[in-house]
């Protein structure tokens, strides 16, 4: 499969000017323009192949939206290379945007005071979509996204979830091969999230549309994406399969032991005691070093045990560790 998106050493730096406060503030702003540099996107490289569904995961302020804005041609990079479908997004933008679909969660592409259906009709003319194609797509998306109940409602009166569904429909009417979604599930309840996830999966599988979606919600990625890119502070921390991330960096399983009595000191080989609270103790261990039953045998040989629990590492903790400890950051 050929690459549909190629990104090489991409950077976007914003100069942020410090504002003076107080009465003379505006005057002082005129003369001294102290500034600092925000490295919103800092040396990112990746490739996405046609047909992939990739999650771009990171906490708030990580640089997700900035990356997507560059990929859609809204922002010009400070440096680096982006090729999407053989085009450079910000050059000749009008041509470029005709061939992609994009939804930025916080903002609607539809017209605020128009009923949804009239906005969609306008988009038909903006993208010059042939009538039959437009009708076919609209009918399909109407059903899958359950738009019928609010097709005649003005966009401003829609709930967040309804608006998102209408926006996603709007982004796909012109049959783009590539869809960018910026936080498509942000602020939605579980049911609404699920509906959108299912739709994204559907168009990826049935129509072969390549999807890149950003999110700070891990469950989006867990449910949808085979491949995840994790970004924080503008840097790509991980790029690969979600379950491999687990094996490589999650690693640590937990054994929680409840002893019969309060031992003064407990020693374990092959594990690390991370928490102790009276008779209760948490031990971290890694499967490569020791199995759970070896560890339990070892403990029960020396101490009297009331209860035991083995916890598998959850991915959320793994990712939090990656963010917090910057586990994956390459030394500069």
């Amino acid at each position: 499969m050929p690459a549909i998106i190629t990104v090489e050493d991409l950077n976007k730096h914003f100069k942020v000017y410090k504002h003076h406060r107080g009465i003379l503030g505006p005057l002082r702003n005129l003369f001294s323009r102290a500034s600092s540099l925000v490295r919103a996107v800092d040396g990112i490289t990746f490739e996405i192949k046609s047909g992939e569904l990739v999650g771009y995961l990171g906490p708030n302020g990580a640089g997700k939206s900035t990356t997507l804005k560059m990929l859609t041609g809204l922002l010009v990079p400070t440096s680096g290379k982006i090729i999407v479908q053989d085009q450079i997004p910000w050059k000749n933008r009008t041509n470029y945007v005709a061939e992609i679909g994009a939804v930025f969660g916080q903002r609607t592409t539809l017209w605020w005071d128009l009923p949804v259906i009239e906005s969609l009709d306008l988009l038909q003319h903006i993208y010059k979509i042939p009538d039959d194609r437009f009708q076919q797509n609209l009918n399909e998306f109407r059903e899958l996204l359950e738009l019928d109940t609010f097709l005649n409602t003005p966009v401003r009166a829609l709930s967040l979830g309804q608006r998102m569904r209408a926006d996603i429909c709007a982004a796909l009417l012109h049959d783009p091969k590539l869809l960018f979604l910026d936080e498509p599930t942000i602020g939605l309840d579980v049911v609404a999230k699920e509906r959108i996830r299912q739709f994204i999966q559907h168009i990826n599988e049935e129509r072969g549309i390549t999807v890149l979606l950003t999110t700070h919600d891990l469950s989006d990625v867990e449910k949808l994406c085979k491949r995840v890119m994790i970004i924080d502070h503008g840097k790509l921390l991980y790029d690969g399969k979600l379950h491999l991330l687990q094996e490589d960096f999650g690693g640590k399983r937990q054994l929680i032991v409840d002893f019969m009595e309060n031992y003064e000191s407990v020693s374990v080989e092959g594990g690390t005691i991370t928490e102790r609270d009276g008779t209760r103790m948490t031990i971290h261990f890694s499967s490569q070093e020791i199995t759970a039953s070896e560890l339990i045998n070892q403990l029960s040989a020396h101490y009297r045990i009331r209860d035991l629990e083995v916890r598998e590492p959850d991915i959320e903790t793994t990712i939090r560790r990656i963010y917090e400890d910057r586990l994956l950051e390459q030394p500069e």
Binding site: T66, G73, L74, W90, T94, V97, F104
Partner: protein, 263 residues
């Protein structure tokens, strides 16, 4: 082309839905028209003619100017500015369309609706209450409509241009307000330019403003014809081309700025 038509149609329909606002606007425009007419009549002091205008011309002038307020969005038009400030412009940049034409199309529908609802109605009300002048021949009517449409194009392109200030400053509203007020004086909206001293009139003709309302009034009243009329039309076309060019350049620079600084 189809898109232009659809956008115009929507903007036209939108105007039709503002019934209460239209009625209120009409009443206000008509009331102030009568007020202005009485001021002008007092100014005539029993003279039958001032600066080539008769009393009937002067009354007609107030009707025409009040009638163009909505048509030319003379008091306010901050839509492009708002779309820059709300960030809606980014959504529009994601659509394969020409941003200038996108707004021009909407203003076409808006202006046409305003022409019918607020322009034509005021002139009819004037015709009922006053003795007013009308163009004397078919060619004069044609010239009037031509100058009127060109005046709207000038008006749209400078309004668009002024709105683009929003790409550079958070205070574009202040700048635009000032520009609108300037336009009331220099377009001959507040008083016919004929009533002003020559130095001021000369100053006005360095701007496109006289080619909006003043030109429309003079052609309607038959105060210019022949070569002077052709001159006005050519000047209008020249201003339209210049303003559109300036808009394109400013838009490109503004968008470029947005692409670098982010929204």
């Amino acid at each position: 082309m189809r898109l232009f038509w659809e956008l115009s149609k929507l903007a036209f329909q939108r105007q039709l839905t503002y019934r209460a606002a239209t009625l209120a606007g009409l009443a206000t425009n008509f009331f102030f028209g009568m007020l202005r007419a009485s001021v002008l009549i007092a100014l005539f002091h029993g003279n039958s003619e001032i600066a080539g205008m008769t009393i009937t011309d002067a009354i007609t002038y107030t009707g025409l100017t009040q009638g163009t307020i909505a048509f030319l969005s003379l008091f306010s038009w901050f839509e492009v500015m708002n779309s820059v400030y709300t960030g809606a412009v980014s959504s529009d940049m994601l659509k394969p369309m020409n941003y200038f034409n996108f707004w021009l199309a909407q203003d076409t529908g808006r202006a046409f609706a305003s022409f019918l609802l607020r322009g034509l109605t005021i002139m009819i009300a004037y015709a009922i209450f006053f003795d007013i002048t009308t163009p004397q021949s078919m060619p004069q009517w044609l010239a009037f409509f031509m100058v009127l449409i060109l005046a709207w194009l000038i008006s749209f392109s400078w309004r668009f241009l002024v709105n683009l200030a929003a790409f550079w400053t958070p205070n574009a509203l202040g700048i635009a307000r000032l520009a609108f007020i300037l336009s009331w004086y220099m377009s001959g909206f507040l008083f016919p330019l004929r009533f002003f001293p020559p130095w001021f009139v000369k100053l006005c003709y360095l701007t496109p403003f006289p080619y909006t309302i003043n030109a429309v009034v003079e052609v309607y009243l038959g105060l210019v014809d022949g070569q002077a009329l052709v001159g006005i039309i050519l000047a209008q076309v020249a201003w339209i081309l210049m303003l559109i060019l300036a808009s394109m350049i400013a838009l490109r620079a503004g968008v470029r700025r947005l692409e670098i600084l982010g929204g």
